[in-house]
Symmetry: C2
Subunit: 115 residues, 2 copies
Amino acid sequence: MTSNAARVLAHPAREEIRVEGVLHALSDPVRLRIVRQLAGATDELACSRFDLPVSKSTTTHHFRVLRESGVITQFYRGTAKLSCVRTEDLDALFPGLLDSVLGAAERQSARAGEV
Amino acid sequence: MTSNAARVLAHPAREEIRVEGVLHALSDPVRLRIVRQLAGATDELACSRFDLPVSKSTTTHHFRVLRESGVITQFYRGTAKLSCVRTEDLDALFPGLLDSVLGAAERQSARAGEV
């Protein structure tokens, strides 16, 4: 029982999600990159599939900030920790916010000649 | 000459404004409140007109973060330091971003029964 409980990750309820927390979560370049990849994916992505220029523990930290701010959901499937963006919750709470942030990040990357 | 130069405040050029910096600047509750007030004003507002629940030096810090991230312009008129949101620059760089953040903050305040 204890081991199962430990594998259920804590998430804020929709009404607990704060715009300041969402903006803070998205204000880090690595976290913004994670969210862009997740938003562009057709299914949940495993954390281990992310090739990020930071250590494993830093990656774990970034995913936790994203989860605790309400930007992503994380859950276990077998031994893999999967993540997806809480698009429905965010769009209901803050219409247009997620899309405009993703669009802004895309335009900035395009200007800089990045992918 | 020196005293004049010291009174011209440094601002990033439009192309230097980064979405991560803008999101970071707006992720603080006090800074978000300042930007909401500025965005709702019909003319430039003096820093001294803001009644904020923080010390004067903290207020100065928040205005500096907003200016250095490209969210606001600050300039002197006589002894008053005036501020306004860089709406034109932000809308050109990141269409819809500022409006969706302000809208999100408004919806959140309305839900919480705040003004």
